[in-house]
Structures are given as C-alpha cells and as structure tokens.
Symmetry: C2
Subunit: 235 residues, 2 copies
Amino acid sequence: MDKGKLYLIPSPLGDNDPTEVIPGPVLLSLQHFRTFVVEEIRTARRYLSRAGLKGKIGELEFHELNEHTDSATVESYLKLFDNGNDVALISEAGLPAVADPGAQLVALAHSHNIEVIPAVGPSSLMLALMASGLNGQSFAFCGYIPAKTDERRSRLRQLEKISGQLKQTQILIETPYRNDSLFNDILAVCAPTTKVCVAANITMPDAYIKTRKVSSWKKEGLIIGKRPCVFLILA
Amino acid sequence: MDKGKLYLIPSPLGDNDPTEVIPGPVLLSLQHFRTFVVEEIRTARRYLSRAGLKGKIGELEFHELNEHTDSATVESYLKLFDNGNDVALISEAGLPAVADPGAQLVALAHSHNIEVIPAVGPSSLMLALMASGLNGQSFAFCGYIPAKTDERRSRLRQLEKISGQLKQTQILIETPYRNDSLFNDILAVCAPTTKVCVAANITMPDAYIKTRKVSSWKKEGLIIGKRPCVFLILA
C-alpha cells in the first residue's frame, strides 16, 4: 500500500491559546493523526491537549526527534508511514524544521517520495522581521552564534560587515538566559548607525518589539531578561 | 492624543478561503480598522470582503504602498495614526514587509514610537523552507535575481558557492512567467549533487513541493508553468 504523508504542524511560540496563532482548520486536522514525531513529548502532549485532543492523548503514538536523535533512529521513522499512515511533525515552538529540528525527517520523506504538507503557523523569525522595519527583501538567519565573548564579538563583526555589504538583515537568536549578554555585545561591537531590532515575547500580550540605532539603544538602555527573543541587525 | 498602532496583517497566498490560513482572531480583528495601507487596493478589498467585511468596505479608507510609492507619500501616512487611530498594513499575498513592500512604513512607525504588532499568517518562504528538508538552521533570501540569462547564471553560481561555503539554504523567487527559465538555469549551472526544492502553489489544494538533486531533476524533468513558486538551493 502507499506511504502516508508528512504534515508539518506549527505550535504556539509561548503559553498562549493555540487558536490565537494557528488557523482553525490546522488545529482541527490534528484530530486526524495517530502518529506524531515531536521535538519534546511533554510539550507536544500539552499542545495537543489545548488543541482539543485532551481525551485522546492516551491513544496517540509519540516519537522524539531533537538534537539528541541519531540518524539511524530518524531513518527508522520511515516505517511510521507504512500502510498509508499519515504522520505529523511538531516542534517545541513555531515552525518545525526552521531554526528547530525536523529537517532530517523531511529530507527522508522527499527521498522516499512521501508527500510533505506544511501548515501555516507562527514563525518567530518572520514575525520579528516583518515588525522590524528592516530589509525584508534580503535577509539571512545564521542560527545560534558562539557563546564565548571573544568568538561572539568577532562573529558579530563579521555579520555586521556582511549586512553592510549585501544590505542584508541578519537575524539572530540566543538561549534566553544569554539575551542580555548578546545584546550588550551587539552594542559594544556594532557601529553607532547600525540598526538593531529587539523582538521579545512575539505574539504574546506583553510582546516587546523595537528598532533603534545602536547609538539610541546605548542612550535608552534595555534589560531584556529571559524572554524568548529575536535580534535583527542591519548595517 | 496618543498615536494609534500599526498592525501587520497577512493575507492568503492564493485564492483559498482566508480562514484556512489566517487564525480566526486575526480575521476578526480586521473589523476593528477603518484605515488600511495596502499593496494593491483591489486585492485588499477582495480579501477584506472574503474575511467578513463585505458590507463595510465602503466605509473604509485605503492608501497604497507599493514599489511605485515615493518616500514623501509614505511619510505622509504618519498622520493616519493621529488621534489614536490604528492602521492595518496588508500586502498582496503573505506577510507584509517580507519579500513585499511595507518595511518603509514599519520603519517610520519605529522612528515615531508607534507600536508595531505583527499577526500570524502564511509566509511562502518559510512554508517552502520547512517543507524542503534543506537546512533550516541557516538560510538566506536574496530577493529577485537578474532576469537576463548571463547575469542570472552568474548570480546563481555565486549563490551556489555561498550555499556550499556556509551550508546555507538559498531561497529564491521569480515572477511566475519566468519560473521555468529560472529553473532551467538552475539545472544548467548548479552541480549535479546540489539539492533543489521547487515549492509551487503552497497552501493550495494542488500544492507541489519536491526536493531533488540537480542530477535527478535532469532525469525526471519538470514544467512548473505560471504557478507562484519558491525555489530553494543547498549545495
């Protein structure tokens, strides 16, 4: 029999109600799946409960796919699609496989002619980019940058240089407890005229999104704290 | 009195029902606005009609913001926010200000301390990226590439080189009637092992999303036609 399909299902970025940030038909479609490949099982169960599957969670099958999952395990997920069984991929927050694990499973699907169907949901990177007022015609996301101050500052200098040369908005993220040290390094390294957007708690009631030149940020000051945050730089 | 806020409201990517791709509360929130800044007035009216504002369209105020709008006109939109009046920015398809006009107005808002609130909706670039199985930890969007064959091929060579060096997925779009010539140039220029994803009519019932090596595309062949399409390359 044919293989099932791979559905990519986004999840909320924070503790808000899924109906606020995921289209209704996408949430309804979750009722259809028995098999889930998820970044973290506990978070996925909570999401599915809030999305209306509360009474059904016990009947569902969860498989983990995160940075600790080896390739052989991912390959073994191919059998989940047997007998026309559709599989849903869900990451911990936002879009699966974008700044999050999952691409390995999607690639496996393509190489076995399994249809891949992406659903609409919140992308913290794109919400931050659209709200930044920076260049949305040319941008790059480079993943996490080094945590050590020296390496980080040299990487930031490099990204600022690329940004200036290509007029390309650079999008950065960090684990929340390092937000303020990253922000301070950006202010220390970048030119006074370079624009920096700080976008924290996007889609939440207390969202904070501001774009300023480095020189203005230095005057205004800001403590971000441990809120999930996206940084954008345009030299 | 205080200035109003700037809301960034996504629109569907194709002719599908807005409720399929925009969260319900975002569509409901449209009832709240009297003032819209839009890429194309005709398209925006049709979207708002389908989103439940059919009887109200005549009472609404539309201002255009697209590639033909000069800076002075954009600056003049500042007065729309007077007396606490909230303004909605809508582009022709997908997210405003991402691969679409609008960033100028968002930047103006930041420079006048007007709060910017992005809403969730479909991003063709991110839907294509998540569904491609290519690297979602590092990617770049470079906007439209040159239309002339020689310039285009040399740009494609450059993007493939950057992609290989940085392990960075390159995201490309073209006006639909040039899809096939762009695709053929990609196949002509890129290495046989370079991966290419073609993502057409995303979110539509007849969506087509496939990732193959250049060598496989050459064997399989493909005619894309004039469907809206995102191309992704990973060397």
